[in-house]
Structure formats: C-alpha cells, structure tokens
C-alpha cells in the first residue's frame, strides 16, 4: 500500500541529501562547545564517514545499525560522561542542519524522531 508514497529518505533527497548534510552537520557538532570535546583527537575522515552512516539512518535510509552497535559505539563516551544533554545537542544540530538546507519542518520532525529512537541505546540504558 505504501508503494506509491515516497519514503522519508526519498522525500529528503536520498544519498545526495546525506552528502549535502554531512559537512554542515559535522561542522555544527565540532563547533558546539557542549559536545565538541567528545570529538577531540578523532580522525576527521573516519568520523565524517560515521556521521554519514548516522545521517543515512536518521534520514530513514538503508543502514545496518543495530541497537547493540549503538551501545558498543558509544560506551567509551558514556564512560566519559555522555548524557541526555549531549544527545539533545546532537538532535538540535541535526535539526539546524536540515533547516540550513531548507527542509520542511514536518520532515525535520520525522528525522528527529528517528534520532530520538536511538537515545536509550546510545546512552547504554
């Protein structure tokens, strides 16, 4: 029944939208004093690839993330004090990125909801 309704990922513009968003999003995150310290010393190219995978997932695109991947991938950050306020900041930057790209608020809310759905796993709860 949903054959004719474009998916969220398609509505956002698919892979091209991810490509357009990744630098903007990563720049916002790195420039955000609330969370930038979590990214100190990481390899930027590798990190950008991870951001791309994250954006693909949040945009409703094809991905292979599992809750367990999310837990494992963030455990070392939780140990460094990653908490709800930091997840809030990331989701806020995600919304800001999409607004910069002129995405409609309705779609932004859907993306934020997908990102939100990973919160418990990211925070290891």
């Amino acid at each position: 029944m949903s054959q004719n309704t474009p998916s969220l990922y398609e509505q956002l513009g698919g892979q091209a939208a991810v490509d357009a968003a990744v630098d903007i999003f990563y720049r916002k995150v790195l420039g955000d004093d609330r969370i930038s310290h979590f990214f100190e010393g990481v390899d930027m190219d590798q990190q950008a690839a991870k951001q791309k995978a994250f954006l693909t997932m949040a945009f409703g695109g094809p991905h292979h993330y599992t809750g367990l991947d999310m837990r494992r991938g963030h455990a070392h950050l939780v140990a460094k004090g990653l908490d709800d306020s930091h997840v809030d900041a990331v989701i806020e930057n995600l919304g800001g990125t999409l607004r910069d790209l002129g995405v409609a608020e309705g779609l932004i809310a859907q993306v934020a909801a997908i990102a939100e759905s990973t919160r418990a796993d990211v925070l290891g709860r």
């Binding site: 630098d23 930027m44 190219d45 791309k52 995978a53």
Partner: protein, 328 residues
C-alpha cells in the same frame, strides 16, 4: 556476468552480488563494516577494468581517478582485476642520481627509477634500507620538470633510515622503492580554485611538488604556501620559492617562524595559525597539510570549521618511525 580477478584467482559474481560478497563468500578476507557504501572500510582498487561510478560515490576525486572503489556497493558490468590497497606489491629498483644538502638537515635524494614510475607530485613512495627497514617519503619532483624522483629526507636523531641516507648512501647505488601511493596531490579540473598549502619541516616536500605541478598545469586561482619552522635555517628552498613567487603573481610564499622573534620577511607564529589567520574563510578552497602530526590534526579541524569541505582537505602526517629498536 562479470568476474573478479583477485590474487591470481577468478571469482564469478552471481546476479546482484557485490564484489565484496563475491570475494568474502569464497573466503577472501576483505575488511568491511557498514556494507552500505559509506564507511569506506572495503576500499579496493581496480588494476584492470573500470569500476562502475556508483561504486565510487563519496570517494575523493584523486581516488576515483585511480580506479579505487567500494567493494560492498560494486556491481560491475565488466571483468575487474582488483587489489586491496595495502596488498599492492609494486616494488622496483632505482639508482641514486643525486644527494644534495638543502639546509635544515634536509637531504634531497634524486632517484632514477629503472621502470617508469607513474606518480603525482605529493604522493609518497616507500624507501627500503636493504630488505628490512622501510620509510615513506613524499615526492617533491614534478614529471616533465624534473628528470628524477626527488625526496627530502630530514636527518632524525637516532633515525635508522634517515641516518643511512645522510651517512652511507652514495650516488650510483641501487635502492628498492615501493609505490607511489597517497592522495595528497594536485587534482586537475579546477584551475580557478584557491589553494592553501601548509607544511612544517620536510612536509615542504609534497607541497613543493604540488605547487610546481599546479603552476605547470596552468592553475590560475590563488596559491598560498605557508612553510613553518622554529628557525630560519629550517626553511629550506626559501630562495627557490621566493623566485617562484616573483615569477607568478598568483603564488604567495609565506615563511613562518614559531620562535619568539621573526626577522623581516618572516611571519611570526605557528604555521597553521598564521595561515588560518590570514585566510579565515575557506569555503571553496582546497587545502593541503603536511608535516607534524599535531599541526596536521589541528589544522584540518580549523580549516574545516573555517568552511572548507572535508573532501577538499588533503593531509599527510609525517609520523616518525622507531628510532633504534631494542637490541638493534
């Protein structure tokens, strides 16, 4: 269906099967992670046959140009002969044709390769000392401008290979090299793009190659080279670079000294800080960082925050190999 040739074996792909699945399904250990064409863990290179452009999405142009592709999203329509990036056995021999001290403890090594070496200035080659020790050195020469391959080897305290280059190597001697590799070089196709090149110490080697390559290819956008050192003697090739800047109005050479006092003609400060201060808006720029790993890391981040796109930031960290191994 297309077939994949890897390590002298032929792998028939089933309909819809990716190169990654075709190889790993037969026990070939190709590293992978996201399996969605994103993380680039499964990067491979085709040495025969052109990979589909869809399998090169997101790769730097310099990698695309050399037929790199992502195996997990590669569905070829023609046969490909493929290698893993690290498994390329491309060693050859070369004769040492020149050894010149450039100043700052830097030796320029000129090598004549016994088989033609297809390289881009700024890429690196591995130099073998006998069969054991090996170090990577960036290429400062430009095909068409220089007869030989030029490397800039800085003598490191206790450095094995650099000590051998400075103390024992002689013109006429034969050495083994491997490569070239690396994607820190001038890409053709954007002649008007502003270029910013930032290096410390012998990190000048790739930048010296890239600048002259860009000029030789008719680059018309601004080119700004910042070379940093603690003391003036570390800024080797300064005369050549000043002369080059005189000949080309769109090329600027800015020597930087990180020590407390900078004589006239030098900028004072750490090289990436001076360069970013002079050029605070980097949207649309292409930027090269070469040299000290800490400078490269900090510089990349600052350049990115100043608006440069990640795909336009090239970097070579000059890590130093183990000086003297225990018991050696």
């Amino acid at each position: 269906m297309a077939a994949i040739h890897y390590a002298d074996q032929r792998f028939e792909l089933e309909p819809g099967q990716s190169v990654l699945d075709g190889l790993t399904g037969q026990g070939v250990p190709v590293p992978s992670s996201c399996r969605a064409g994103v993380c680039q863990t499964c990067l491979m290179r085709s040495t025969e046959g052109t990979p589909p452009t869809a399998a090169q999405h997101g790769l730097k142009d310099s990698l695309k140009a050399r037929n790199y592709f992502l195996a997990c999203v590669c569905h070829p329509t023609q046969d490909l002969r493929v290698v893993l990036p690290d498994a390329e056995e491309d060693r050859q021999t070369a004769t040492v044709r020149g050894l010149d001290l450039l100043g700052g403890g830097i030796m320029r090594v000129a090598l004549e390769c016994h088989a033609p070496l297809d390289y881009r200035p700024g890429q690196f080659i591995n130099l073998f000392q006998g069969t054991g020790q090996v170090r990577s050195y960036s290429i400062a020469s430009v095909p068409g401008l220089d007869d030989h391959i030029h490397l800039h080897v800085r003598r490191l305290a206790g450095g094995r290979v650099s000590g051998w280059v400075h103390g024992e190597l002689r013109p006429g001697q034969t050495v083994t090299i491997q490569g070239p590799a690396g994607d820190c070089y001038y890409p053709s196709g954007t002649p008007g793009q502003p270029l910013l090149l930032i290096g410390t110490g012998s990190g000048l080697a790739p930048l010296y190659g890239i600048v002259r390559d860009a000029l030789a290819q008719g680059h018309c956008g601004p080119i700004r080279l910042y070379h940093g050192s603690r003391a003036p003697e570390g800024l080797y090739l300064a005369e050549e670079l000043r002369a080059l800047a005189q000949r080309h109005a769109h090329f600027d050479y800015i020597p930087c000294l990180s020590g407390p006092d900078a004589p006239e003609g030098y900028a004072q400060g750490r090289v990436h800080e001076v360069a970013l201060r002079d050029n605070p808006k980097l949207d649309g720029w292409r930027i090269f960082f070469c040299g000290h790993p800490e400078m490269v890391k900090l510089g990349k981040k600052k350049a990115f925050l100043a608006g440069a796109a990640l795909r336009n930031i090239h970097a070579d960290e000059f890590t130093v190999g183990p000086a003297t191994e225990p018991g050696a």
